[in-house]
Amino acid sequence: MVGIVIVSHSSKIAEGVKDLAGQMAGEDQPIIAVGGTETGEIGTDPIRIQAAIEEANQGEGVVVLADLGSAVLSVGLAKEMMDPDLAKTVYLANAPLVEGTVGAAVEAAAGSSVEDVLQTAQEARAMEKIE
């Protein structure tokens, strides 16, 4: 299955989004939450993000969902530091964190390819909340 990694400045946000997405995707879907700094403060940590991606990887690629600013920079750096062969299969979704993660997790749990999981995550950008 395609792995899902949730990156947030806040560990509570990352864990909460993981709980929400996990409820719909089921237990077998690898979803790793990585929020906050090593010392539990608000921020992002490229080294722990790299470890989370490696943990989520089952050989079929990983889709990463991130919140603001430095989360995106930290994911970029994490990819630069990891095994280049793995990095080629890791995609950062241009998607809202909550909606994108739920969509991606459900798609991944259905056994879809990493390209399809990425696309579903990114389609969340166009989801209307109020018709």
């Binding site: 992002t44 490229p46 600013g69 430095s70 930290s74 970029g76 750096l77």
Partner: protein
């Protein structure tokens, strides 16, 4: 000859001394943590470099600085400065002494790293608005045949002018971009911390 560890200590101490100032700048237009994050980063740097031999080469020391910042800063400055130090480390591999030409190569590698990571250009109210003019001024002084002291002074002056320039422009990158025009009138915290570091390192190298 200046040792790498001493140069890093001077840079780190300058950042830590400006913790409150940098945080105040960031409170005005960002998320208010730049000084706190950078000071925490350099405290980690100090722990890591204390474990190295006193005569450890520049490349190894700078690599250690980059990794320590990456793992401890938390904000955007972590991956940006972390990448900058790692690239600078790569640009002085096997060098036993840092002359101005090498220093400029290292600065340019650091700038390229920041651009690769942050996808920013000059004029977007970022650390690049201090660092790029510094590199340009250093290059011009070198071309004019100035001595190393003059080259370093020109770089620091250009960086400081760059910080002043950031007061006049709108932020389009980072958290300050949420403020749009309200970011005008405030100097960029990243350009400021870059200048503080450059000033400290030039003072040591002179």
């Amino acid at each position: 000859m200046i040792r790498a560890k001493d140069a890093v200590k001077a840079v780190g101490q300058a950042v830590i001394d400006n913790k409150v100032f940098l945080t105040e700048l960031d409170q005005a237009i960002g998320d208010g943590d730049h000084g706190i994050n950078m000071a925490r980063g350099f405290e980690r740097v100090f722990e890591k470099i204390d474990a190295l031999q006193d005569d450890t080469d520049f490349s190894t020391v700078l690599k250690t600085v980059g990794m320590a910042l990456i793992s401890s800063v938390g904000g955007a400055a972590g991956p940006l400065y972390g990448t900058a130090f790692l690239r600078a480390a790569g640009a002085c591999k096997d060098k036993t002494e840092i002359d101005v030409v090498t220093a400029k190569t290292m600065l340019d590698a650091a700038i390229k790293g920041i651009q690769d990571r942050g996808k920013a250009q000059k004029g977007e109210k970022t650390m690049l608005d201090a660092l790029i003019p510094a590199s340009e001024a250093m290059g011009k002084s070198l071309a004019d045949g100035k001595d190393s002291r003059a080259c370093l002074s020109a770089a620091v002056q250009a960086a400081a002018d760059g910080v002043e320039y950031t007061k006049t422009i709108i932020a389009t990158k980072g958290r300050a971009s949420y403020l749009g025009e309200r970011s005008i009138g405030h100097q960029d915290p990243g350009a400021t911390s870059s200048t503080i570091m450059l000033e400290a390192v030039c003072k040591v190298l002179k």
